[in-house]
């Protein structure tokens, strides 16, 4: 490990107006190593990564590539110098073939200037096979899983000459099996002597794949440690800046339940079938499955946003008509927060409009009274401790965790009977996570039924009283959440 660094950053600082995003950070990357960047949301990971990738070109400090000081001007410039980035949101084109995506923008041509399909397909096939993926490269990319799409993007960046790969949360949308494959791919790339900067929330992955780990906190570098010299607990305390007590708070006593709040019976649609599910009063049920298992669509169906073919949904003794509207669900006590805040919140609109919208008909049948709306929003935001608690600010200016709190708060004005939430803690830092879980627990203790739908085993295990596991559209297991662990869950899907 004494090879000279390919990339060396010295004393990097970057300000956004009043926010010191990075403060004299040093970073270096050696040939053939996987260097992980970890830290809470807002610690400066993304900023550092964007500087590395040439997206931010104005900063203080020095950037050395192969020992030479240089200034990147654009991401394209970075790629020309061999630094490529794999974004969290892939930039593949699903309708083009796998091979076309591999060579996007740079197709091999025959001497006549025509695209050399034969060569393109052959090279794409070979390269993918070498990485362990033998697939038909002439099929459109959309026919393949997200995991494969990501591999294709990685390959494209490599073939455009990148020696250094920056991977931003590459596994956040993958199923556990796909994660395992991606980690193998990273290992393969390292054996090919490529260097990888690996940014992730998932510390287990980081511990599996990284050679060295740099921890950022509040824009400062806390430490760079070698993987073999550290362990999870120490990493967490470095990230949090305090001694970590157990990763997440344990569940409290389950109150007695004798009353069914939500009963889903034989619910069947295209992606799931014969789903039976019961949530009692004062109970949190975790519905767990890999991405694509159909559990998110069950949640949507309960809220009336996914068309089902048969089955029934009963809330507090009242059976809904088949394919009821969302308005109907809301009026009969169903609340729903989706896995995508971007989809469910109006980022440019003030908090109060976001909070009052689901209940506007009840708050004001004809003419909304803004003062009353703001007051309602203020109370709702206080209930879940949104920071800063200003109902007039646009929700998009809040941090991810606080946005999620707004997405929950909007349902508290007229308390629902059953609260359905998909991925309530996705992409949040540890602090925000435990706050959101605390809110859900409070709802449970106040006698709502809560259904937490998730593909993150940690979320389900840390919050649910009972766990229901879905796999490929069917429920495969129902268990009390006692002595359950991640491995058990993962083996079931």
């Amino acid at each position: 490990m004494s090879s000279p660094p390919i990339i060396e950053l010295k004393n990097i600082s970057k300000r956004f107006r009043t926010l010191q995003a990075l403060d004299s950070v040093d970073f270096d990357l050696r040939e053939g190593e996987v260097h992980a960047l970890v830290g809470e949301n807002g610690a400066g990971k993304s900023t550092l990564m964007r500087i590395l990738a040439g997206i931010y070109t104005e900063y203080e400090g020095e950037y050395f590539l192969n020992g030479e000081r240089m200034q990147l001007h654009s991401p394209k410039d970075a790629l020309l110098r061999g630094i490529g980035m794999i974004h969290q949101e892939l930039s593949v084109i699903p309708d083009l073939s796998v091979a076309e995506n591999v060579f996007l923008g740079d197709q091999p041509t025959t001497p006549w200037g025509k695209i050399d399909w034969k060569k393109m397909n052959a090279v794409a096939y070979e390269e993918l096979a070498r990485l362990g993926f033998e697939i038909d490269v002439r099929r459109p990319l959309r026919e393949y899983s997200l995991g494969i799409q990501q591999v294709v993007e990685v390959l494209r960046v490599i073939l455009s000459g990148a020696r250094v790969l920056i991977m931003d949360e590459p596994t956040s949308a993958l199923s556990p099996a796909e994660v395992a494959r991606l980690l193998e791919l990273v290992g393969q790339l390292r054996r090919d002597n490529r260097s990888i900067i690996y940014i992730s929330h998932f510390l287990e992955e980081v511990m599996q794949v990284a050679d060295r780990i740099t921890v950022l906190r509040d824009g400062k570098k806390v430490a760079t440690v070698a993987r073999e010299e550290t362990e999870m607990g120490r990493l967490i305390s470095l990230i949090l800046g305090r001694e970590a007590n157990a990763t997440l708070p344990p569940a409290v006593e389950v109150p007695d339940h004798d009353h069914v709040m939500l009963r889903v019976k034989d619910l069947t649609a295209d992606v799931f079938s014969d789903v039976n599910l019961v949530v009692d009063v004062g109970e949190i049920v975790g519905l767990y499955g890999a991405i694509g298992a159909g559990h998110f669509d069950v949640a949507r169906a309960i809220f009336g946003m996914y068309r089902v073919d048969s089955g029934s949904i009963t809330v507090d003794g009242h059976t809904f008509p088949l394919n009821h509207s969302a308005q109907y669900a809301i009026r009969h006590g169903v609340a729903y927060a989706t896995e995508s805040r971007r989809k469910s919140l109006f980022m440019d609109e003030p908090n109060y409009k976001n909070i009052s919208l689901p209940h506007l008909a009840r708050i004001a049948p004809v003419v909304p009274d803004v003062n009353r709306e703001v007051e309602i929003a203020r109370r709702a935001m206080e209930m879940v401790n949104v920071q800063p608690p200003n109902p007039l600010n646009p929700v998009g200016k809040l941090s991810g965790g606080n946005q999620q709190k707004v997405a929950i708060a909007r349902w508290l004005t007229f308390p629902p009977k059953i609260f359905v939430t998909s991925e309530p803690t996705r992409g949040m830092d540890v602090g925000a996570k435990s706050e959101v879980l605390g809110i859900l627990r409070n709802m449970r203790n106040e006698g709502y039924g809560v259904l937490v739908v998730s593909s993150e085993p940690e979320t389900v295990l840390s919050i649910a009283d009972r766990v229901v596991v879905m796999s490929h559209g069917r429920i495969v297991a129902r268990m009390e959440n006692t002595n359950l662990d991640k491995e058990t869950l993962m083996r079931m899907i």
Binding site: L19, I330, E349, L357
Partner: protein, 345 residues
């Protein structure tokens, strides 16, 4: 961040931030007014370049000239705010005129039934476009384009291609009457003002208005909050049809005849004026005040060019287009909407 709220540095930083945001807010306010600056610049230019531009008579003319457009623009504002578009308005204007003239002149229906029938059909066509758009997932660009053909086809069929000169007194009153004698205020202008006012009140102060904005701002979020976005879009296209019908009746009264030939410029002018005012084509941003400014810009430009004698009259359309494009660019640049993120748009 929330963990170290007692940190004095952070508090200082926060108050700094507050100052900056108030500065920023001013900047935003100024740039949000970009269309207003465009209007003032044009008005200033024309009043310097022409002696006749600023005369009260001419200013009155401008109002009369943009009144039909204002009625159309009210509906177009609703439609654009939801992120949809209505390409059938010009044809519906024509159809409504021809239909009600036909009912009045040839079938001799008593007033006000010909007008109400015209308005009803116009609204119905809008609602049909809405159903096609939402329930059958045909983009409104296509469904209203088809509706445009249907409406103009009906107009030609009903009139057999002939101009109807006999029109009802009521529509003559609406289109070219005046209240308060020879120099009184034109009824046309009042109708336009009322339609803009009604649109303004509905959009600004009602629950329905809120739903319109929210549907355009983020359709999936609106749905997830229980808003029936399909219904909103159907109603909004119905409103677009209704205002097009109203414009058709007023326009017929103004011209004194019902002509089966479409006035294509209505479509471009109405959408152009609304967008010029600052209402976004993608929905969620804008409103009636913006539309008023857009209409005034349009009126000033069209009228101003007529008032400068030295301009080749065959060049006017070209100049109008050019000024439009420049004004739109200025709007985008000044309102800071030019995207930093180069991957989007």
């Amino acid at each position: 961040m929330s963990a170290n709220i007692e940190n004095p540095n952070l508090t200082a930083a926060k108050s700094r931030e507050r100052q900056q945001t108030s500065q920023e807010r001013w900047k935003q306010r100024l740039s949000a007014l970009a269309p207003l600056w465009t209007l003032l610049a044009l008005a200033l230019f024309f009043s310097l370049a022409s002696d006749s531009f600023l005369r009260p008579v001419n200013l009155n003319n401008i109002l009369a000239q943009i009144s039909t457009l204002a009625i159309l623009g009210t509906g177009v504002t609703f439609v654009l705010l939801t992120g949809e578009i209505d390409l059938s308005i010009a044809a519906v204007v024509t159809l409504t005129g021809v239909l009600s003239a036909h009912l009045y002149a040839n079938l001799e229906l008593p007033e006000p039934w010909p007008l109400l029938a015209g308005l009803g059909v116009a609204t119905l066509l809008g609602l049909i476009s809405g159903v096609a758009t939402t329930k059958f997932r045909i983009p409104s660009f296509m469904s209203t384009l088809a509706m445009s053909l249907i409406a103009s086809g009906l107009a030609i069929f009903i009139s057999r291609g002939r101009i109807v000169f006999e029109i009802s007194e009521l529509s003559t009153f609406l289109g070219s009457g005046r209240i308060g004698g020879q120099d009184g205020i034109r009824v046309l202008v009042i109708v336009a003002a009322l339609s803009l006012l009604a649109g303004f009140l509905v959009l600004r102060y009602t629950r329905f208005g809120r739903y319109v904005y929210m549907t355009g701002a983020n359709k999936s979020a609106a749905r997830l909050a229980g808003v029936n976005t399909d219904l909103i879009i159907i109603i909004v296209l119905g409103i677009g049809g209704f205002t097009a019908g109203l414009a058709g009746i007023v326009n017929m009264g103004r011209l004194g005849s019902a002509q089966p030939q479409q006035i294509q410029s209505f479509l471009i002018d109405a959408i152009g004026a609304v967008v010029l005012g600052g209402t976004s084509l993608t929905g969620g941003r804008g409103g009636i005040p913006q539309t008023v400014i857009g209409l005034l810009i349009y009126g000033t430009l069209r009228n101003g060019l007529d008032n400068i004698a030295s301009i080749d009259s065959f060049l006017k359309e070209f100049i109008t287009g050019l000024v439009l494009l420049v004004a739109l660019i200025v709007n985008v640049v000044f309102s800071g909407k030019a995207d930093r993120d180069r991957t989007s748009g």
